[in-house]
């Protein structure tokens, strides 16, 4: 009896507490909204948004609905996160490996890089790139070409656009290449397990990836042309580049700040991972006669990755959440487009903020769930 009371009283109290808080808040919201004549509902999503977004991946104009504006913002968020994740991974791996270098200068430069970028608030870094560094770039008419065809100007980075013909055939070929690589890998590993034969999987994979898409150019009628940005005079003093793709300075500043900042954390994860594999493993692998490449590929990397991947994914998640700082420099991401402009116009504070938070929550929880599944899969199975 005593035990039952001990178990149930705290739980009932906790439930009561939560219910009371939520009830109190809902009641207040109800009265407040009644007084101000606001009604609760998600009908506004299908209404015409009548505001413009500077930069969007999909067709969008003011006559589209709020739901589409939401989609535009979400895609922009995902775009900036995706680019930054790729750059920060590359940088992070280089810096992380450099921190373990035997070269005194490299080791210390890498360490200072990490200490430097990690200890400055991300928002300040974004501001620095956007308001200070990128503003020092030349005007379009004075810009020098980078790699001959791209132009870095104060109005953004202009790169050539690809104009495809029969793009779908090309994509199918790429897909076919990937599928055949997977099939080949499975076959190769079965061959190794049963007969002990090794085939150069990597070489074949690269060959497949190059040859199949190439075939599509020759036989599939695929063609690719580049549309190169060209300088055009708008008025006496104002110039602009036309054609090609223009990456707005907001995007560049955001990608720079996010990837430099997050790469320091990725570098620390990589360093910890490589340090976490004991030296004995390497020596043991070498002593059974594996080549240095095989040691790295078959012994060190699988163990290091097991340590590296979970915290690194966490950093990717942080990066995606941090990309919401875009709102501070007016890059049209989810927060600016939806929780900023759309909220200002509709006044539906509760609905819009909840949708925004739920979106981020969904992204986070999905990645967390995938991570948990992956962790279970790669866990060392002890007897």
């Amino acid at each position: 009896m005593n035990n039952i009371i001990k178990r149930f009283i705290p739980q009932i109290l906790a439930i009561l507490f939560v219910v009371l808080i939520f009830g109190f808040l809902t009641l207040n919201a109800q009265t407040n909204m009644d007084n101000r004549g606001i009604d609760f509902g998600f009908d506004f999503l299908s209404q015409e948004s009548s505001f413009d977004v500077q930069f969007s991946l999909i067709e969008y104009s003011g006559s589209d609905s709020y739901a589409r504006a939401f989609l535009v913002g979400l895609l922009n968020t995902l775009l900036v996160s995706f680019i930054s994740i790729i750059i920060c991974t590359i940088l992070g791996v280089i810096i992380g490996v450099a921190r373990l270098s035997s070269n005194y200068l490299i080791k210390n430069s890498a360490a200072w890089y990490v200490e430097f970028f990690r200890n400055i608030p991300l928002l300040l870094q974004i501001f620095f790139w956007y308001y200070a560094a990128l503003r020092a770039l030349p005007m379009p008419e004075k810009a020098n070409a980078w790699f001959g065809v791209t132009y870095m100007t104060v109005k953004g980075y202009y790169i050539p656009a690809m104009v495809w013909e029969n793009l779908n055939v090309f994509l199918y070929c790429g897909l076919a290449a990937i599928i055949s690589i997977i099939v080949m890998r499975n076959y190769a590993s079965r061959l190794r397990d049963t007969q002990g034969k090794q085939i150069p999987v990597l070489l074949y994979s690269v060959a497949l990836l190059i040859v199949l898409p190439l075939l599509s150019f020759i036989f599939g009628g695929v063609s690719l042309e580049f549309e190169i940005p060209e300088l055009k005079k708008l008025s006496k003093i104002s110039y602009i580049y036309e054609g090609g793709i223009s990456l707005p300075p907001e995007l560049i500043a955001l990608v720079l700040a996010l990837s430099l900042y997050t790469s320091t954390f990725v570098a620390e994860c990589v360093r910890a991972g490589i340090e976490g594999v004991s030296k004995g493993q390497k020596e043991a692998a070498a002593s059974v006669g594996l080549t240095p490449n095989q040691v790295l590929k078959l012994v060190i990397m699988p163990q290091a990755l097991r340590i590296i991947i979970p915290p690194t994914t966490n950093q990717y998640l942080n990066l995606t959440k941090n990309s919401s700082l875009a709102a501070a420099i007016a890059y049209p991401d989810l927060v600016l487009v939806f929780a900023g402009t759309a909220l200002m116009q509709t006044g539906k504070a509760i609905e819009i903020v909840s949708i925004t938070m739920l979106t981020y929550l969904t992204i986070s929880l999905t990645i967390a769930a995938i991570m948990n599944w992956y962790n279970k899969k790669i866990e060392i199975k002890e007897k």
Binding site: N103, L124, L325, V335, I350, L365
Partner: protein, 423 residues
């Protein structure tokens, strides 16, 4: 191949090789330095691209000649071991050295030699370098925001008092030490709140009322992070214990709370506190924006704190729990006297990291219109009298934040080393 032996350094020709090698490296360094500092191109007689590559090639050859295993010369061995183990390393060494030398004169002249610090207005800045006059003139604004100049002593006094009160624990008598936790968790926050309220806000004791809208600058960063810090820790502890509880409802409430806050970005939480939260309050109940922001950040960081503390709780061996229970301790007695003291000691670095993240997150309150350092910079940047000094402003702010955060991270390493106990 006997004939080519003279190309490889060995024991017999160490001296020649090290002298020739170091001479070549010296030549390459002199070339780069004269290029960067004196703007003299020593190798202008060479064709085009070779001029730029010259120091690199010469330096590489020199380093290659110097690479002698166990030469017996201590300095040479040290150099070879640390920066010159193979050609690739030598190349990287040279590249790093050259880029530092190339970057130094520009940044030095911009930051120091050509910079201006005298004068009281923009007109003083005529040089090509940085305009530190801007920082000098705006310094008080950057530190104290729009807080009236004549009352700045109130902020200073409040901070000194709060810090002094924080150190009370060090000087407490031995027989009072058992109340230390009580002091820091309950009494200290209350006193600190009262000090800051009565001194900085004013309104009584003959002090003029200054509304929170006027607070700003770095002092606001400190105020926000201080309060979030002292409130989020106990809250995080509660949810960490909740998540470890074997009562299902409490456990799931804690999990929901933690996962919710950890899944959303802080900026949306701040948006929530500024536009959505007022809707959930009783009609005639007004809550200051600053208070709302502090509550929002506290709730947010508490989730992160909880996860860190949970990590510490989980890493304690079961034996500790069993031993405490076998002594007849109840849940609370066991946690307060056995589990938490050990677990908290383990999570000090993690907690310090969370606090570091908290300090780095405070500039975000700028998005809801509170002008701490980043916000004041944005304000100063658009002032028509001081246009065009964004670079100086952000560099100043970066240095300030960098020093704070770097000191915090170093301090956390120290704490970690201090509380490390063999287990």
């Amino acid at each position: 191949m006997q004939t080519f032996n003279f190309l490889k350094p060995n024991r017999d020709n160490i001296k020649n090789y090290s002298i020739i090698g170091s001479f070549l490296v010296l030549v390459s360094l002199i070339d780069v330095i004269s290029n960067a500092f004196l703007k003299i191109n020593l190798t202008s007689f060479l064709p085009g691209s070779l001029t730029t590559l010259f120091p690199l090639i010469i330096g590489l050859i020199g380093l290659n000649m110097m690479r002698i295993d166990y030469s017996g010369n201590k300095t040479l061995d040290l150099l070879n071991k640390n920066i010159n183990t193979n050609n690739f390393n030598a190349l990287l060494t040279l590249l790093i050295l050259f880029s530092i030398i190339k970057a130094l004169p520009q940044s030095l002249s911009w930051m120091i030699f050509d910079a201006t610090i005298s004068g009281e207005s923009k007109d003083a800045c005529t040089g090509t370098g940085a305009c530190w006059t801007y920082i000098k003139v705006w310094f008080r604004r950057f530190m104290y925001g729009m807080y009236p100049n004549e009352f700045h002593w109130r902020i200073n006094t409040a901070f000194i008092l709060v810090i002094a009160l924080g150190f009370v624990g060090y000087f407490m008598k031995e027989n009072l030490k058992k109340y230390l936790a009580l002091y820091y968790v309950i009494i200290y926050p209350v006193i600190a709140y009262l000090v800051i309220y009565y001194l900085i806000s004013g309104g009584s004791f003959g002090l003029q009322w200054v509304e929170t809208g006027a607070w700003g600058g770095l002092s606001l960063t400190f105020i926000v992070s201080f309060f979030c810090l002292i409130f989020c820790f106990p809250l995080g502890m509660i949810f960490a214990l909740g998540r470890r509880s074997n009562l299902p409802i409490i456990k799931y409430i804690s999990i929901c709370y933690i996962e919710f806050w950890r899944g959303v970005p802080l900026i949306t939480v701040l948006f929530m506190s500024s536009v959505m939260f007022p809707m959930f309050l009783p009609e005639d109940f007004f809550m200051d924006k600053l208070v709302r922001v502090i509550i929002a950040i506290t709730l947010f960081e508490a989730a992160y704190c909880a996860e860190v503390i949970r990590g510490g709780l989980q890493s304690l061996p079961r034996g500790q729990y069993d031993a405490a229970k076998s002594l007849g301790m109840g849940y609370w007695k066991m946690h307060i006297f056995v589990i938490l003291p050990q677990a908290l000691k383990l999570v000090i670095p993690g907690i310090a990291n969370t606090f570091l993240a908290l300090v780095k997150d405070t500039p975000l309150i700028f998005v809801v219109g509170l002008a701490e350092l980043a916000g004041m910079l944005a304000l100063a940047k658009t002032n028509p009298k001081w246009l065009g000094f964004a670079m100086e402003g952000y560099i100043f702010a970066s240095i300030v934040f960098w020093i704070i955060c770097y000191a915090m991270s170093k301090y956390s390493y120290n704490l970690e080393a201090k509380y490390k106990t063999e287990r």
